[in-house]
């Protein structure tokens, strides 16, 4: 579910389990942490360099610890809007010039905003790393935000919202589900922001955001590729070193905004143009805080894997293939987040079945695990996938950088990956059953149903619109 089109893009909040595994997977087999080096500049910028000498290329990513989680009412979406504005130029590198120079150097670039962070990256031939650092460090502090550019770019962001959310029935379901499941925590807001907030945002909102969060002591620079770590450090010193510290709140000083306990099931219906109903259920669950002492998040990862980690996992095998209640069914859990965790179940009912049928069937699968537990065989299978997916990830510099950046920017360390893999491998069947019993409970559940609406509401019996001119 994570795609990076060649445009500044949102990173949607919900990711697939496979992706999660890929992101979570650590480095003991190939001891990649051994080829990883960390530095901290005097101004607080953290630098992580991983050597990968298979190809003469490099990826440079800067991660800012500011995402939609840090936004307040009225200016939702500003983290992502600022991401767009970051391409609009500085005194030294005027608007459009950033992209032109990277392109002329044979580079690729993009950016993404998530709930927890905002990141920018360039991929280039290794000889061009200084250029990427020069340009990226320049816009850390020297961005020129003008009303004129903002007025145009906010239109682009609104088009992006229409494309990705307003006209996508299932995205709407997810957006509204989050807003209902969370009452207080900022995860209730969509990353792209509410349309009315976008309509009323000004360049001053973006400027305030930039000045507050874009500083070396709120950032992590991740470089992966065919590089010499000492040389990368020297480059970082040269380009980022002179930048003054800002005054961003460190992660542990930001307001915790603990979500009040949910005390009963919540339900919502979303009407939107579509053909099939769709069901999405979400339970509040813990997220990983202390990788070496926590155990529940690992057991929840395994639970999601047993339900939906492969084609023969329980939901596909039982609901899609055997009972044929669903044309698709899934489960996912995201353990790595600054905010609270969530455990998702979702699916599309088969023709002739309803969302209620599917909900009943999904609950039955959960209850079965609570009652009977999972088998050692199932667990071993998920673990084998975890181990293999980790090795496969080493084929991509991009995902190696993602793994490091994501952990570092939510307050964990890239070094935790070894612990995480060991702990995932150590999860027992009993623990999987325990977390299912403890967390997949009605009192913390929110259920959203897409109620599909015909495209032509006045004449539902008309021929399909594609046939008309």
């Amino acid at each position: 579910m994570m795609t990076f089109p060649s445009l500044p893009s949102l990173w949607t909040g919900l990711r697939s389990f496979a992706m999660l595994l890929a992101l979570l997977l650590p480095g003991s087999l190939f001891a990649n942490t051994a080829h990883t080096h960390e530095y901290t500049l005097a101004n607080g910028l953290r630098l992580i360099v991983r050597e990968d000498h298979r190809s003469p290329v490099v990826i440079s990513q800067i991660w800012y610890k500011a995402g939609s989680i840090d936004e307040v009412n009225g200016v939702t979406g500003v983290a992502h809007v600022l991401e767009h504005m970051m391409f609009k130029g500085t005194k030294k590198i005027p608007g459009g010039e950033f992209s032109r120079r990277i392109a002329a150097a044979g580079g690729r670039e993009n950016a993404f905003t998530s709930r927890d962070y905002t990141a920018y990256f360039q991929q280039l031939h290794k000889s061009r790393l200084p250029l990427a650092m020069e340009l990226e460090s320049d816009r850390m502090r020297n961005l020129i935000l003008t009303e004129e550019e903002f007025t145009k770019e906010i239109q682009v962001v609104m088009e992006e919202r229409r494309l990705r959310t307003d006209d996508q029935a299932r995205s709407l379901v997810h957006e509204k589900l989050m807003a209902v499941s969370y009452q207080a925590h900022p995860y209730r807001h969509p990353i792209i922001g509410w349309m009315n907030d976008l309509e009323n945002m000004t360049f001053l909102d973006a400027k305030a955001w930039y000045e507050r969060w874009y500083a070396p002591n709120n950032a992590v620079l991740v470089v992966v590729g065919d590089v010499n770590p000492k040389e990368v450090f020297a480059l970082a010193q040269k380009f980022y070193g002179p930048i003054k510290r800002g005054e961003p709140l460190p992660l542990d000083k930001r307001k915790p905004q603990i979500e009040p306990q949910q005390v009963g099931i919540k339900r919502l219906t979303v009407k939107a143009p579509a053909q099939l109903p769709y069901l999405m259920m979400v339970y509040h669950a813990p997220a990983l805080r202390n990788p070496s002492t926590d155990w529940e998040p690992y057991a929840l990862e395994m639970l999601a894997g047993v339900l939906d980690g492969n084609e023969s996992a329980r939901l596909n095998k039982t609901l899609v293939r055997e009972q044929r209640i669903a044309s698709s069914a899934g489960a996912s859990y995201d353990s790595t987040a600054r905010g609270p965790g969530m455990f998702y179940l979702n699916g599309t009912p088969s023709e002739g079945k309803t969302a209620v049928d599917l909900e009943t069937a999904l609950r039955a699968e959960v209850e079965k695990i609570v009652r009977e537990g999972v088998t050692e065989e199932e667990l071993a299978r998920v673990k084998a996938q975890v181990v293999a997916a980790h090795v496969f990830q080493l084929d991509s510099m991009f995902f190696q950088a993602m793994e490091i950046g994501q952990l570092e920017s939510i307050g964990l360390s890239y070094r935790d990956v070894d612990t995480i893999l060991d702990k995932l491998k150590a999860v027992t069947a009993e623990q999987v059953r325990d977390v299912a019993k403890k967390y997949l409970k009605d009192d913390v559940l929110t259920v959203a149903v897409l109620d599909p609406q015909p495209l032509e509401q006045k004449a539902p019996s008309a021929p399909p619109p594609a046939l008309r001119h």
């Binding site: 190809s55 392109a103 044979g106 000889s127 770019e153 084609e311 023709e351 090795v391 084929d395």
Partner: protein
């Protein structure tokens, strides 16, 4: 050995860019007649294998539309005496990943596995059955047909899908490239087990197959793998009978839709995989709308006016002429403005061609970013499969860089003027403002 470092670097006079070039591709034919392309790479304990067949959606007919796609889909749902569940478990137990790709020309299956002995053996055993002994069980077929049909009905409510489907029909008429890969509700409903089994027998043959192997095995091991994946395939080589693509009747179709945005798409017959205008059109398109943030369409539509989040132009080269397509989405009320502007940008480019500066920058980007296109096993095996399927020279990647370097402004202008007729485009707008 670092395969991806196995490149020559040469300094180009005009761009002063690093460029890459040669990959150590080994090529042979199996006893069953299958072409094999192999690169040994020991950096990671991973093995990637792909098997491609001349069995894309253009082998469908209108009444059997969806047959090729469904055949590919069912390969792993019961094969060689293993149930779909046994196949899925057997692969997951060793962490192996099965994949597929499918387009108008090609149907391919891919396997990624750890290269360690136990994992590799088990994964390849199952993969061999999937490729060579699919069962197409009637019960599984009925279930999957129902799922595909549900998916089609859902997709046909989405403005992007509606637009693409209408556009391909207008562009290709009765040419099989106009058939949708996933088929239509009516045609999929009618497909029977024999349709798929017969299709497999005639299309999934050893003589027409192309195998690509990349990763942590020796040449001898790769040869044994290729043989084990082909010795039980049906014999023979399917005939290539694709008609030539002719220019469409220029037209505009406007389709109502309740979405907030209009989806605007324009198309014209574009490139063949082997095509004398390949590089001038490719480089020209990079300037027009293929080159990310710096293209003309992006500049005019998005950067200057904020009309759209995404706007692009694209050539999809196929055995016959694949589509040249331009697409964008914009708020309904301004869709006319956006369409007029898009047409103008295209027409200006075709008439005037690129500037020298634009051409230099495009070449710098395409050539300079070449190392990024071959920086992982996964990307390289994709090239191997493509080179094999279209029978391109083993020096394709090296030639590619040189050919881009040679492209001139007059060539781009001339190629666009001969090949792309802005007045002749077919256009679809889904979500047009309804007439009052």
């Amino acid at each position: 050995m670092h395969v991806m470092r196995f490149m020559f670097f040469l300094l180009l006079s005009c761009c002063s860019q690093w460029v890459s070039a040669t990959l150590p591709i080994q090529h042979w034919q199996t006893p069953a007649g299958t072409q094999v392309y192999f690169i040994e790479s020991r950096d990671l304990p991973i093995l990637d294998v792909s098997v491609d067949f001349n069995a894309g959606s253009s082998t469908d007919t209108a009444d059997k539309s969806g047959r090729a796609g469904l055949s590919l889909h069912l390969l792993s749902l019961g094969a060689g005496g293993l149930t779909e569940d046994q196949i899925a478990k057997g692969l997951a137990d060793v962490g192996a990943q099965l994949g597929a790709h499918f387009d108008q020309d090609r149907a391919g299956v891919t396997l990624r596995t750890l290269s360690s002995a136990r994992e590799r053996r088990q994964a390849l055993d199952i993969f061999g059955r999937v490729v060579q002994r699919p069962e197409f069980a009637g019960d599984v077929l009925e279930r999957e047909k129902a799922r595909v049909i549900a998916g089609l009905k859902e997709a046909d409510t989405k403005p992007g899908t509606i637009a693409d489907r209408a556009l391909m029909k207008m562009l290709y008429g009765n040419h099989p490239y106009g058939l949708r890969g996933s088929g239509e509700v009516g045609s999929v409903s009618g497909l029977q087990r024999d349709d798929l089994a017969d299709f497999y027998r005639t299309r999934y043959t050893a003589g027409g197959a192309v195998i690509a192997i990349m990763g942590d095995v020796s040449r001898a091991e790769a040869a044994a793998i290729a043989e084990s994946l082909t010795k039980e395939l049906p014999q023979g080589k399917p005939a290539d009978v694709l008609p030539e693509v002719i220019a469409p009747v220029p037209s505009v179709q406007k389709i109502a839709h309740p979405a907030t945005q209009s989806h605007i798409v324009l198309a014209y017959p574009g490139l063949q995989r082997v095509d004398p205008d390949y590089f001038p059109l490719l480089v020209g398109n990079h300037i027009l709308g293929g080159g990310g943030f710096t293209s003309r369409l992006m500049e005019e539509i998005r950067q200057k006016r904020g009309l759209a989040y995404s706007v692009h132009s694209h050539f999809a080269p196929l055995r016959e002429k694949g589509p040249f397509e331009i697409g964008l989405q914009t708020r309904k009320e301004q869709s006319d403005e956006a369409l007029v502007l898009t047409r103008k940008v295209l027409a200006d480019f075709v008439v005037g061609g690129p500037t020298e500066k634009e051409l230099v920058e495009a070449k710098q980007n395409i050539i300079g970013s070449f190392p990024l296109r071959i920086d992982s096993n996964k990307k390289i095996i994709g090239f191997l499969a493509m080179i094999g399927f279209y029978n391109l020279p083993l020096t394709y990647l090296e030639d590619y860089v040189k050919a881009v370097e040679r492209v001139t402004v007059p060539q781009v202008k001339d190629a666009f003027q001969r090949r792309i007729n802005p007045e002749g485009m077919v256009t679809v707008v889904v979500g047009a403002v309804a007439p009052k």
